[in-house]
Structure formats: C-alpha cells, structure tokens
Symmetry: C2
Subunit: 476 residues, 2 copies
Amino acid sequence: MTTEYDVIVLGAGPTGENLAARTRAAGLSTALVESELVGGECSYWACMPSKALLRPPAALAAARAVAGSREAATGRLDAAAVLARRDSFASHWKDDGQAAWVAGTGAELVRGEGRLDGVRRVLVRTPEGGERVLTARHAVAVCTGSRAVLPAGVPGLAAARPWTSREATSAKAAPDRLLVVGGGVVGVEMATAWQALGSRVTLLVRGGGLLPRLEPFAGELVAAGLRAAGVTVRLGAQVAAVERDGAVVTVRLDDGTELAAEELLYATGRAPRTEGLGLGTVGLRDGDWLAVDDHCAVRGVEGDWLYAAGDVNHRALLTHQGKYQSRIAGAAIAARALGRALDPAPWGPHTATADLAAVPQVIFTEPEVAAVGLSAEEARQAGYRVKVVDYELGRVAGASLAADDYQGRARMVVDLDRQVLLGVTFAGPGVGELLHAATVAVVGQVPIDRLWHAVPAYPTVSEIWLRLLETYRDSE
Amino acid sequence: MTTEYDVIVLGAGPTGENLAARTRAAGLSTALVESELVGGECSYWACMPSKALLRPPAALAAARAVAGSREAATGRLDAAAVLARRDSFASHWKDDGQAAWVAGTGAELVRGEGRLDGVRRVLVRTPEGGERVLTARHAVAVCTGSRAVLPAGVPGLAAARPWTSREATSAKAAPDRLLVVGGGVVGVEMATAWQALGSRVTLLVRGGGLLPRLEPFAGELVAAGLRAAGVTVRLGAQVAAVERDGAVVTVRLDDGTELAAEELLYATGRAPRTEGLGLGTVGLRDGDWLAVDDHCAVRGVEGDWLYAAGDVNHRALLTHQGKYQSRIAGAAIAARALGRALDPAPWGPHTATADLAAVPQVIFTEPEVAAVGLSAEEARQAGYRVKVVDYELGRVAGASLAADDYQGRARMVVDLDRQVLLGVTFAGPGVGELLHAATVAVVGQVPIDRLWHAVPAYPTVSEIWLRLLETYRDSE
C-alpha cells in the first residue's frame, strides 16, 4: 500500500515536530515518521532531563550565595527529589503528550523506521515488522538528529559500557564515583549535575581548557566552578585504555595514571543519525551529515525536494536552532509547494541567517555561560576589524546584590566598521537570561549609538550593558 | 570669594555624579554641589538598600520553589544578616567611596546647600555656615532629585512620625506590625521586604489595584504574591485619620475600620527637591518640577544654560533614567560649550528619546515585574493601532524548570502599522533580567520579522519570546 502526502518528515524530535506543524499550517498534508519517542532526544535524554538535574542545585547555590538566605539553606540537596522531578520533566519516557500535540497539528504520526527509497519516496518499517511506502508530492525533510559516538581506538571502551548523554541524563541514581571524558557542553553540565547529586566526579579533558569553542574565559570560570564544587578537573588528559571489572571501570591515561569509578561518561562527539537512511538511493551517503543551503535544502540533490533541519545538517547542534530551521524549512517547502519563489534575502522568511551570525547557547553550569554570535577569535578569523570589550560582572551593582562575591565576566565583540555587535559572551551565576538581549542586538544589528538609548534597569545584572558601552566608549 | 567653573551641578546623586563625569570628560571644569551624602537617595535610601533587603528572601524563595532544593532550604531567613548586608550595601551611610569616585573624575565636590542666584550663578551655604559664590561659564544643571511627601489633609499623620522610603529602607529592625499606605513601587517592595523580615504587614491601597501605571495583570500577580506571603492587602482603603500613642500607631479608614501597628510607612507620592533652590531668581518657582526639553534644558529659561536631569524634571523617576539623562545633558552642555550645534535627531546623542518611548522598570517583588515602553492602554491612548499579545509564562519550558508551578505572564504590545514593539511587560519570579531584551527590541525598533531570527536559547525563560511571536503570528 502506498500513501501519498504533500510532505514527509523523518524524525519527530522538536525540529521534526515543528517542521510538520509549519507545513500543516500551510495546508500541506504531512506525515511525521518516528522510530522512537515523539519529542526526540531533547525531551527525554538531553535538554529537559539535564536541566531538570541542574536547576535544583543551581537554585540552592544561589540561595547560599547571599547572606541572610545562606543561613536558611544549609540542608542537603534531596537527590531523590531531584531525580523524581527529572523523571517528570522527561515525561517518564512516555510520549503520549507529544503524540497528542502532533495530532493537534493534523500531521499524521507514522511509527516506525523510515528510510529514503529514491526521489520523494520513503519506506517505513513498522513496529509490527511490516513495511509501508510513503510518497511525497512536494518534499521530504530529514530531522533525525544526532547521537553520541564513542571514539575509535580506545581499547576496551565499548566493552566497558560507558554512559553517553542518554545514560547520563536518565540514570536512576548517582554513582559513587563518576569519570567524565570530554570538556564540551555535555561533559561540563553532567559533571556539574552528578557532583551536586552526590557523585565524586573527575573530569578528563584532552585539550588545555573547557568549552574550547567559546571565549577562553568561559571555560576558565567553569573549570574554577567545577573545582570549587569538588570536581577533579584534569586537563591534557588522554585516555589510553578502559577496562571494566564488574562494578568498577578503570581508565588508564597516556601518562600511566589509572582512575577508577563506578561509571564512565564519554561525551566527546556526536554523529548524524543517517545510518540506514537510504541516502544512497538519492545520490548521497548514509552516515554523513547532510549539508544544506540557507533554506535547509540538501545540497547535491536535484529538484529542491529534500530538506534537512536540526542537528543532522550540522549547522548548529542545538534544539532551539533546529526549531528555527524547522520554521525556515517549513516556510520554504510551503512556498515552493504553492509555486511561489523563495525570498533569498538574509534575515528573510526563507533564510536561516541566524545559523551563521547569531547562534545563542546557554550552558547550565555553575557559573552559567551564555554566548551568541562570534567569539573574538572567530570574528578576527572571519576578517572583521573588531574591538573586544571586557568587563567583570562582579563590579556591576546588580551582580553584587545577586550574590556575595559574584565572579563573572562579560565580553562584547564590536564590528568597528559597522559599529554593531558581532558576538557577546557572559559567564557568571544566573547569566542565562541575560543572553537574549545580546541576541536581539546582534540579530537586529542595532548600532552602538542606538544601544546607548537601551537603558538597563538599575540595579539589575543587565546593567553590564551600560558598563560594556562605557568601556567601549572610553577605550576609543 | 567667587569661583568660576564651566559647569555647576547641583546634587551629587547618581544623576549629578554622572553628569559631572561627562562634562569633565569633555574637558569642562565642573563643580558638584551636595548638601547630604554623595551618591544620593539611590545609594543610601532607595535602590541599593531596598534591593539588598529584597534579594535574600527572593533567593530563598527561588530555592524553595524547586523540589530537591526545597528540602535543603527549610531554615528561617536570617533577618539580622539581611540587615547587616543592607548596611554594607548602603556603605553604612558614609560617602567616602563615592566622594573618591567624584575626585577621580576631576570634578570639584563642593559640600553645602546650593541655590541659584540669577543667571549662571550659584550660592552655596557651606556646612560651616559660610557662603560661597560659584559662577558657571556655560551651564548649571539641577540634579537635586525628589523626596517623599505626605499627603495633606490626613489628620494626625505628621504627628504620628510615619516612615517614608528613607526610614523603610534604613530601619534597623523589623517592626512587629507594619502598615503600608500606597500601592506603588515603594509600597509593594517594602511590604514584600518587611513581611519577609518578620513584620506582619498590612498594605492599604486607595485604588482598585496595585501598580496602577503598569499592565493590570502585573498588579494582580503582585497582590496575589503578597497575600501568599502573608501580607494583608486592602484595596479601596482610604485613610481618614492617623494617631500615634507611644509605640503604637493607629490608622482609621473611611469605613471606620481601625488598624494598629508599631510603624506606618507612607508611600503615596514624591515631590521635587526644588524648595529653597532660588528658582525665583531665574523666573521659575521653587517647589515646582522643572520641565525640560529633550536635551534636558529647562523650559522657560533664556540662553540654554539651565539644565535639569533625573527625578527633578519629572520625566521618569528612576535612577537609571536619570543617569541616561545625565549623559544626554552632559553631551548637550559640552556641545554648546564648544560652540557646536546640537543634533536634534530622535535617538541621537543629544536627545533623551528613551524617556518618551522606552523607560524600563523592574519591581523586585515576589513575583517580579519588569516593563518597558508603553502599556496597551498607553499605546491606544497615544493613537497607535495595536495588537496585544499575552502568554502565560508558566507554559514556557524554561519557567517550569526554574520553579515548580511557575505563575507569571508576559505581554507585548505591537504597533500594527510599523510592525515593531511599543512595550513589553513581564510578571513572574525572576523576570527582571528578561527585560533588557525587550528594551533593546523597543529602542532598536527591531521589526517583528527580524525578531523571529533572534532565537531564544532552549530551555531558558527567555523562550517566552518565541511563544509571544508564535501567538502573534497565529492570531493574525
């Protein structure tokens, strides 16, 4: 039996769900194919459970950072309550709520493993073992996301059954000792969470610092925060071999050091979920990331019928950016289906300009890190003539009110030729909600002269904006 | 003895300090006259001490709002520690630090009571009882601020020695019972603070709601928060008479109800600090607010030599807005002193456009309120064709992570003709730092189409921006 839709979406994570919602809103019949849980990695094994683990210790730390409330917050974090709350935010790994949401859009949820079978044709292996053939009048969108990968060439690693982000976000109890390998977002967030929940955590990082893609001070402040929380942070640590013996896993480093723990989290890389996707039937290759143009149409495929949005296109591996792409791709698919030309303008409705210029990210460590746009290094490499403006957040009245001995820093990167911001980074307790002002400024290309009229309310931490502008002015 | 300066600034609160710093930076000799503490109301009897009182209970409430940290934060707020921390933030009511900051700008601090004595001429009665004559080559700027006033016509009020904002922010201990009259910012913030610090607070409000100048839902949520904290909130309460008998003050309402307490805070209005200012010598009237043009030059005075910035000009009674005006006025004074024409453009360096279009305000109650620009009602009255977009903050994933059972609301007011935001209001726990994104959007006049590219990081509370945009889109 063949069923025809206007649009077929492979993968019902946040990106696929939102893309289907957009094509449905445009009146296009849409099938949404999912082999696991509707809601995807973000809902069950990433954003939601990880932030549910991180929020209670962060709230407690904030109360303890202030004289007066500190004395009232001397109890122990209730790890069981945190884990139970996490389970609730992960919907107990059931997707009824999300499936109902999809139904509300009018998209048809097709359970099973989908794969391409030539142009605008999808085969779905159903949970019952059957096979359905779906064809798309207009477009197929791949929104299958990414998965954690273990590095090749570490003897004993796979056999040691390490945690990846999935196990680290869904574990039912804190291991006594936890080794974390990887200084990226997953590594630092999960080290923060499990240390707070009672594990003795050691973080092993191959390079010389944490969060290497961000401004260097961000990783330095996070490393200091982890150490202050009791985490052992080892930089320049190269894993030579791993061995599990029953309940204990042992990691041997290049320098011969041996470290033992009950669990080992490997968070060193992601791969596209494109294996077995039938990409060979349309001239591409299974297992590859799907390169796309700014409308999220897959490059190298004739006829503009194949799209890829979210992690799988490797533009920005973040839920919110996938949702952004899903709106762009959904609008582009709808326009083409209706025979309309795409608007090619940057920042237009069919162009994912923010992917290149203004990707925001918040890292929920202690302290938090929030960044958007280009780092100073990235801006210079891109050829901009820049001025880098730094300010210590602790010198802002609002920050000193928020926490005694507040430690943090902000940086803005100014494009000297256009007098607009290329990027902004904050690192400090509670800075996550500061970010969107920077994102609006970068995306809106609001000139420095105009930003002077955007007055931050006193005494909030946001007064950092005034201090950054003053510092820039007085440095000229 | 007469001393001549380029510029004389009357009043060394944040506005006067910053104005003097700007004229000094332009190379103009500047005298800064202050009769009380350098740093002004904000530093000792308003922003700083009030927020120092409010932050510890807010931090504790946030920890108690989350399962896991709630169980660790069951102790009592340490009121003595809060008050000691407040004393520190008020610099123990000593101004050495601020005076040193002024000295660092190169402005000359003149202690004493200044008053005008004709055009560009100021008399200062020194603390020693002497009198100095200061003359200004270019400009005199009045930055004397505002003070609390008690309403006339309430029998017994003055004799009952009520608290005003000064006593409410500097009191050394929590009274057993506190009556607060006034539902504006001072009233709701101080009711919040002293209830948390141990007083039994009753808030008496003449009108039908709190915070009447803001979107109605803000006052409603604050009233609900005060009641949940144990404050008795009485709306429509008209004070008929007040009587103090020793340690107890009794308030009688119009309806005959009598309420007794140890202290009574009256927070029903402000007056300009222009009494005895010699305004009559330049054709104005002591005791009046000083009306100014958009460069902060006082209207009705020939020759553009008299300026007024901060509360005293009645444009926006907020420290940050006074500092904003001080930059505008300082730039205008410097330009004119150097014989340059002023730039009359809105949002230009000499025009305080934000005073009219984008005044931000954060109210540090539980929940917090943060607003910028026009309310829906103000926008309609100003003749805009608007769309009002509301969204419940508790439905945002980041908010539900931040606090269990998060209650709050956001509203944006869209100018349908220009497709930009005229105003945004948030009410909910911890929304203060959300505001600056709205301020940048309003001031930058970033079109709705562009705001879609300003992606909020998931899962932050800032994702409210996506929800507001979606709600607006789907309402069209």
